[in-house]
Point group: C2
Chain length 210, copies 2
Amino acid sequence: MSSPVKPRPVGHHHGDLRNALLRAALALVGERGPHGFTLAEASRRAGVSVAAPYKHFADRETLLAELAIRGYRGQRDRFAAAVSGSADPCEQLASFAAAYVRFAAEEPALFDITFSAGLDKSRFAELSAAGDEVSELLLPIVRRLAPAGDTDTDTDGDAALDLLLRVAASAHGLAVFLRQGLFGIGRGALADTEEKAARTARAIVRARGV
Amino acid sequence: MSSPVKPRPVGHHHGDLRNALLRAALALVGERGPHGFTLAEASRRAGVSVAAPYKHFADRETLLAELAIRGYRGQRDRFAAAVSGSADPCEQLASFAAAYVRFAAEEPALFDITFSAGLDKSRFAELSAAGDEVSELLLPIVRRLAPAGDTDTDTDGDAALDLLLRVAASAHGLAVFLRQGLFGIGRGALADTEEKAARTARAIVRARGV
DNA sequence: TGTACATCAGTGAACGCGCGTTCACTGATGTAC
DNA sequence: TGTACATCAGTGAACGCGCGTTCACTGATGTAC
């Protein structure tokens, strides 16, 4: 996907088994979901024995966690690029919502791993940190719309976090429906759904406090 | 859950194994998700041998399909009750969105089975029909807001279906986030989230055609 | 009321499968001299 | 430049496990007479 043909720096034997396994795992998750991923099948696809992965990963969950970290970083990068296009917080959230849908559509495996692999974050500090970086990117934006101290009718009183979650939730639902094919298929469907996400985000921001 | 203590009509041996298996399966799906459900564990919980379920269900997927049918019927009943409270299509959609969230929160296992068990609908005609009944209940409502022939900028030109999907998608996202604990836990969080869903639905309806 | 019988729900053992993980090993690599 | 050696990535076989499904069976039930 990202590498040109096949690097093959030839380290020891396989040379790049670690990355080959990560790539195979990503493809596998794309086909079968996070729970359908098995080390055995990933090994098979990378052309090595089932024991080989244990030279690079402590266990199945550790490999998955590695992918999840890449997932969060991909989200952070894409969302950062999306919100950099405007200074208006409402438009930034609209762009974020569209980028959320796009990420889910273009990197379904990474998206699913971050969202529903059920990884134990207390076991992987780096994963936890990567996830936090995504929130930290977005929170300042909603804070401008709902300054701290603004106790809404909401959950724990953090109106800003609540606003962010509502925007993210609507983008999430649209992304899931898009991936189920409910909005059609192909590039056009993706563009339509991005637009729907952006519009819904604006509507939520404008209705804030109502 | 629904039966008072335990019916035990004592038919032949177990008496009510079919329902006992369905109940065990539902609990299991609630704990581990649709993919975590196994016939073996369900048998164990019902107190019978692993071969016993085959006297009542053709295979694992058939048992799951049976639950999925109950899931769709539960949705239909709840959504029908929700939309019966008003004659205004916008309010009907708001009530539907709230009911969607409530169903996901109160019947997480049934919700997950209908949404992500990956059942082959062409294999189970009754399942397919039960799903259709849910759409058929809701489509007339959105048709009043976006009469057929209204070609929006949307997907396949059906603006009514598109409106319904967008409302459902936002409710879906909120339901998923609620269940992940992102809106807090308990009755209060559910009530809050239902309200968010209703408000978002209204916002989407009002922004229609924009 | 009593007996013979057909039915069929549930048993227990077995099958083949794919999984995660471990283990002693081997043989190519890079390095020290 | 050549040789000896330590390293360590990958092997292949094995383990125990839980799964879905099949099979011949058994024994309680309901029914016909």
